[in-house]
Assembly symmetry: C2
Homo-oligomer: 425 residues x 2
Amino acid sequence: STSQTETVDQVTTLLQLCVDRFFVSPGHANVELFQRGLCCSYGPLGMELRRNLLDQWWYSVTRSGAQVFGINTLSSSSRETPTGGQGQLRIVECEQLKQRLGQKELSKGRLAEEVHMLLQRSPSMRTNLLQGALEQFVPSLELVNRKLPFGLAETGLCFQPAEGSGCSAEVTQTSLVWFCSPRTSSQWLDHWTRQRLKWWRKFALSPSDFSSNEVQQEELEQAASRGVRIIYNFPWGQEVLACVWSRGDAELLHIHKGDRSKLQHRDGRRSIPHVVSVTANMDRGAMAFLSNSLQQLKREESKQKLHQRKVLKLHPVLVPIKVALNIGRGATVELRQICEGLLQEFLEAKISVWPGYLETLPTSMEQLNAKYDEMGVLFTIIIGENTLESGLLQVRSRDTTIKETMHISEIKNFLFRYISAADNI
Amino acid sequence: STSQTETVDQVTTLLQLCVDRFFVSPGHANVELFQRGLCCSYGPLGMELRRNLLDQWWYSVTRSGAQVFGINTLSSSSRETPTGGQGQLRIVECEQLKQRLGQKELSKGRLAEEVHMLLQRSPSMRTNLLQGALEQFVPSLELVNRKLPFGLAETGLCFQPAEGSGCSAEVTQTSLVWFCSPRTSSQWLDHWTRQRLKWWRKFALSPSDFSSNEVQQEELEQAASRGVRIIYNFPWGQEVLACVWSRGDAELLHIHKGDRSKLQHRDGRRSIPHVVSVTANMDRGAMAFLSNSLQQLKREESKQKLHQRKVLKLHPVLVPIKVALNIGRGATVELRQICEGLLQEFLEAKISVWPGYLETLPTSMEQLNAKYDEMGVLFTIIIGENTLESGLLQVRSRDTTIKETMHISEIKNFLFRYISAADNI
């Protein structure tokens, strides 16, 4: 059907753009990882996008007014593995394993035993960030004078077993583990769900593509009494971006070997805290915002030709490159010097710049704008003869395609205010 | 000898402080990892310190005026492993290995073969960030219109084989891989060495503890023609923080299977770029700055008693917590409201705050100051009756211990200016 073909086209266009414009590294296998919502090899623009996304997540969680502390735990551990699906992936030293396989005098039974023992001693890779936070609960309780509620936040790599897909994979996860009193855990689950959905929608071009739904009783994770998923509507179907689980106290007790006195907080009732976990997959998150922000606009050219304009309308806060600096007609050496000065000024203000003026291959203004639109560049600045004479430069907006004239002394504050305004909506 | 005992005391004090003040998680094994310059489980303050350090590294490399792009590569890969020490650690799925060990009908020889094959197919963990950058060289060359020099920057986890130490370990590495023309590679090595040493010393309390030395011919890494190490003088001896290697073109050619046409840049001579790699261990870096900034000051008390004051004089840019908010005498509810308001104001300005006013356990001002000094908190603000009446508050400086009176409307700008000034020295 037509709609199916359109969807395929849409997806192909999106993935091609991601490669062409340096969001992800080329190669079929790499692009497939990205489409599946897994960590892939990112190019400069993808790396910046995901970095901005992770920074925004961090601020929204640690600066929300709630007591949240950041932690950083190890991605591999030699501790005893609990039942909860951990310990399926282990880091094995090849040499050691090969050495055992090469021992001629061993019987087959002994060999199997030796390999088993080696496996037991090898560190296991984490599959989620929950474990580390539960372990850090006890020292963190001192930090807050044994008072609830508080949270521990972490972002980092987690590893997924292949489970038939042929190869294990990496995912960049964010995790907030929230400790609260048992009777408030359901309210907190609702609070964090609302807060997270609002956060995802804040950066969206069409917020309705992000939705949440309550997990059915039969689909709940082992320890959980309630769960909510935050979902994104990709062209190829719905995928889970984030989860909020109400997990009770079983895992906390299990990790601390049932030592209740260590876990009690100061509320007079000596109860064990309940855990609400808030997790997200930020590789899929980056993909969702790329998919959400790509607009393909058809417009008729003068000679009845159809022309497609592709624009990546990423949110000003997330977009990897805020501004591109280019040279128009005029004395190249002097114009370049002006660009160098502006570049320095932008870098110091932490506004990411694309040094277009360094390109020596001739391109038309149309080609340049088309390229920058696909990269999502918010504004393109043209430094020309006018700038040398009167300090005036041209600023083109990605979203309106309108060109404005502005004085060189105003441009930094203009960009700064524009990005701040978008951030504070 | 006395000096040896003193060193042991110094180290014990430092490590104890790291645990007590939430830089690293408690536990002998964890603290030992940290002391060995490996990644450990970090508490909130250690996590922030390392985050600040990584951010500073990132800015100093990507905003130095040189053309540097950030990338993000996978920490595990299924590609063929080169000779360069990679592929010693592999991620094995336990179930798959156990399944093979459980096959009764297999002979011992067949079993060994099957395990070998499984190992070959398992992804290997990266031991450095060089490989990923060399692979991304070709797509990145398009980004700069095939013009040199340029660099690819990345920070991330790398894994170290145990080599007898019993357990493999994680390290947080930073990497700049710099591509330049063959005849300039030695100059670039000198440039980056100077730039890096200056960077390490910028944040130091005693910069002379950081030094660099040329690597001897016989100690050079396989591919390298020259190398420089940046070294920190720990109480227990010298350790390597960072390395700069001039690596030639052999590895680049090897990875791209000798396809010279793909690798050539536009300088008319069709030469293959040379590689200069700049790496650092940021776990050891965090340890170095903690060690460097801990001052133990002896002072005589009124009754001839000796008193030790421990202050963590971390650089204002690196210090995890810039300011602590506390309450003095007065109407608690109103004072708390003022604190809440200031907290919000600081968070929005991205100034990290310690909400001391939430603590309900009684502590004297001396105890509080001692605690904050050990945490490295730059300024302590006391909100008291005076603040309610006239808007005046007390600000105590970590470095001078002097208390100043300031109006509440000035405090944010004061902190902002103080931190910026320290950053721009």
